[in-house]
């Protein structure tokens, strides 16, 4: 009789990395569907281009590096989808492809692939594109329900004066912006799905949005308007909760969320940049290792006083 010998435990949960990524993809579907509703099938085409580029790039990368191929874990699909949702729908496809290559090659694979990137690939790529192609990245197409009196493009709610858009338009996404970030409702649905499936903990999104709301009040802005415009919803639910680049400790998540909220609102108010979410997430990503070192949980039975021998 041949017996297999291994160290305990001899059970595993059914949840796998692929399953987690699949859940994230499902959670992104409402946002993608709303993008199609507002902009037509070109939104779907852009998403497809991004996903295909990301998966293909990852495949080639792993081949060239002579490593085990990881495209089946679906993480490249998530990156592609997230980046697509962060782009204006009418962007030149070549710019989108360039962004995908940056995300996968430079940010993800050069640091060792899934689990080793220190910043979120989709966010980093978006920042690279914003710096490289500022005009293309901020030319927002009107949604199909808007009156096209001021031409084919519209200002984002952040660039326009507060009150330009009604709360209902902001909530439903009938505003200018990247194709996936406009519809607050769709993003919230995705977020609720992720929390219900226990994929993400609600700590980061809740603390992030809460801090941003408080900061708005301090800075004399309308918190509701601020939270429903720009990329903060998409950022809080999908980008800031990225496993690899967010703290794994509970208090680390809280500090991370507070930092994001403060930075986002400061950049929105005091800098010349059109939006603060991407830069805030990028900055906080870099701080994650330090945040984790500061928030090491107290072990069971460990003395409350630091350094005291029990």
């Amino acid at each position: 009789m041949k017996l297999f010998v291994s160290s305990s435990p001899h059970l595993r949960s059914k949840k796998t990395t692929t399953g987690v990524m699949l859940d994230v993809i499902i959670a992104l579907m409402p946002a993608l569907i709303m993008a199609v509703v507002y902009f037509g099938f070109k939104a779907l085409l852009l998403a497809f281009i991004c996903v295909a580029t990301c998966v293909l790039t990852e495949y080639i990368c792993r081949k060239v590096m002579k490593r085990k191929n990881t495209i089946t874990d679906l993480s490249a699909v998530v990156t592609g989808l997230l980046l697509a949702l962060n782009l204006p729908v009418d962007i030149n496809p070549f710019i989108a492809v360039f962004g995908c290559v940056v995300a996968i090659v430079v940010v993800k694979q050069m640091f060792g692939g899934i689990g080793y990137n220190f910043v979120n690939p989709a966010i980093a790529a978006r920042v690279v594109l914003m710096v490289s192609f500022p005009t293309a990245m901020t030319t927002w197409t009107n949604t199909c329900f808007m009156d096209s009196v001021d031409g084919v493009t519209s200002a984002t709610p952040l660039a326009a004066a507060e009150g330009t858009y009604s709360y209902l338009d902001l909530f439903l996404g009938n505003i200018g912006g990247s194709m996936g970030e406009i519809c607050t409702l769709a993003i919230l649905l995705g977020g609720i799905y992720l929390v219900a499936r226990r994929i993400i903990s609600p700590i980061i999104p809740v603390v992030y949005l809460g801090t941003a709301a408080v900061m708005s009040l301090i800075l004399g802005l309308d918190p509701l308007y601020q939270l429903m415009s720009g990329g903060i919803m998409l950022g809080a639910v999908f980008m800031a909760t990225d496993y690899v680049t967010s703290p794994i400790t509970k208090w680390g998540k809280v500090i991370f969320g507070v930092g994001l909220g403060v930075l986002t609102m400061l950049i929105r108010t005091y800098s010349n940049l059109p939006e603060g979410v991407s830069f805030a997430i990028l900055l906080m990503n870099i701080l994650v290792p330090h945040i984790e070192n500061l928030t090491k949980p107290r072990a069971f039975g460990e003395s409350r006083k630091k350094g005291e021998k029990v």
Partner: protein, 457 residues
């Protein structure tokens, strides 16, 4: 010691983490079957934590059920007894499933199960007598750890014990032996509790039972309310949430009393003694009859077993013989476990004997035995949420692989009790607890080196 007034908790205290493992208590309704048709038993001299025993019988000696076949002078040790009557066939060396090489006495059974004439109930007048009797009974922690019971019960004078906890959580999947012990042997459970409580002088006894055993909870509650079984009214039953590892000593103490055992300390430091329900039932049996620990209740289950059931077998029964008596395999067995699937040891041969601290034999088919692939850590933090000890498992595991001693120390690696919740929860299917075990070994080596350096100075 200043303690809060002793109260019986109405509901368990909060315990952190844990894993939702499948229950698979298929044998909960199977009454234990006594198996006697064993031609030969192999009795290892190491069936406990502590010093190995030396064989005190020779080849060709006639032995009876309960005859001492191995003993040791060491304090942390427990004698071993023959579980059958017959003739000593040989004294051999075997490798136990945990990798320890031990002497073992092979006894050919004559099938008569004659009791050793020297066996009589022990005379217990004081604590010293009681501890001597417990040692002579060969009792070790029957929950799985195998720590000699007389050592645990010999609480130093300066430590005040106020609570006796009876562990009937049985959080491991498959295993139903404690459950059956309660249903089939409840009278002994209570008289054992009374014997131990009187020796320890405690005023509070809490039986912790996971909620997935409603019939056991009901029965124990009825008995605890009955003056016949609980005349001093000190025993209470506390239903615990069904979550692995509720039965781990430190977790059980927290759940039942709210007390936290400090790192590196023992339950007695927070006024508790924890005993397995089968252990206390055995104490009662021994005080009544004087028959030492020679039989063991086991759950035989798993996807490859034809007739899952609970059995009572002589200690030392070879596992292949046991499985044959249980109807054999229905599929090819690819993994054989001694103990539950969470902390059990996988066997490298099926001829290994049943040990005192065993409570289950689980046989997995090919599909269930297949192993995880072990991808990259995606830092999801599921292991952090699952760890009942409040550790950061993935960090410790990575530090262990890189041999970073200072990180291992900083992250309280030695607090890990190796329950495996982190590993079960990991979506990347990584070998987390296995790496942490490596980390603990690294720290033990390091401590040895430091000690050596001090001696040289």
């Amino acid at each position: 010691m200043n303690r809060e007034e002793l109260k019986f908790p109405k509901k368990p205290f909060f315990t952190k983490g844990g894993a939702k493992v499948p229950h698979r208590k298929n044998t909960a309704t199977c009454e234990s079957v006594e198996l006697k048709d064993i031609p030969e038993v192999i009795i290892p001299m190491s069936q406990h934590i502590g010093a190995h025993c030396k064989a005190v019988v020779g080849k060709g000696d006639k032995v009876f059920v309960g005859t001492v076949v191995g003993d040791s002078d060491a304090f942390v040790s427990a004698p071993v007894h023959s579980s059958v009557s017959g003739e000593v066939k040989d004294i051999i060396y075997i490798t136990l499933p945990n990798g320890v090489v031990s002497e073992a006495v092979v006894i050919t059974s004559d099938g008569l199960f004659e009791k050793d004439p020297a066996i009589k109930p022990p005379v217990v007048e004081n604590k010293a007598d009681f501890l001597k009797a417990v040692r002579a009974s060969g009792l070790v922690g029957l929950g799985g750890a195998g720590f000699p019971a007389h050592v645990k019960l010999n609480v130093p004078e300066d430590k005040e014990i106020d609570t006796l906890l009876i562990n009937c959580a049985e959080c491991e999947p498959y295993i139903t032996t404690d459950h059956r012990e309660v249903l089939e042997n409840s009278w002994n459970v209570f008289s054992g509790i009374y014997a131990v409580k009187d020796i320890l002088g405690v005023k509070r006894v809490i039986i912790g039972v996971e909620k997935n055993k409603p019939d056991a909870i009901k029965l124990l509650k009825e008995m605890a309310d009955n003056d016949k079984y609980d005349p001093d009214d000190v025993v209470r039953v506390l239903p615990l949430k069904s979550s692995y590892p509720q039965g781990a000593e430190k977790v059980l103490i927290k759940a039942c009393t709210g007390r936290v055992v400090p790192t590196g300390k023992l339950p007695s430091d927070v006024g508790c003694v924890v005993m397995n329900v089968a252990s206390v039932a055995f104490v009662a049996e021994y005080l009544k009859t004087g028959m030492p620990l020679v039989n063991k209740r086991l759950t035989v289950d798993g996807s490859a077993i034809k007739n899952p059931q609970n059995v009572i077998v002589p200690i030392g029964t070879p596992i292949n013989k046991l499985i044959e008596l249980c109807g054999g395999y229905k599929e090819e067995c690819a993994k054989l476990l001694m103990g539950g699937p969470m902390m059990g040891i996988s066997l490298f041969e099926d001829t290994a004997p049943v040990l005192k601290q065993n409570n289950a034999i689980i046989a997995f088919n090919e599909k269930e035995a297949s192993t995880a692939k072990g991808g990259s850590c995606i830092r999801c933090g599921k292991c952090v949420d699952a760890c009942p000890m409040g550790l950061v498992p993935t960090k410790i595991a990575l530090a262990a692989k890189k041999n970073q001693v200072d990180v291992l120390k900083e992250y309280n690696t030695m607090t890990c009790m190796e329950c495996g919740c982190c590993t079960v929860a990991c979506p990347a299917q990584r070998y987390i607890v296995q790496s942490i075990r490596l980390g603990k070994a690294i720290l033990r080596e390091e401590a040895k080196k430091e000690k050596g350096a001090e001696v040289k100075k």
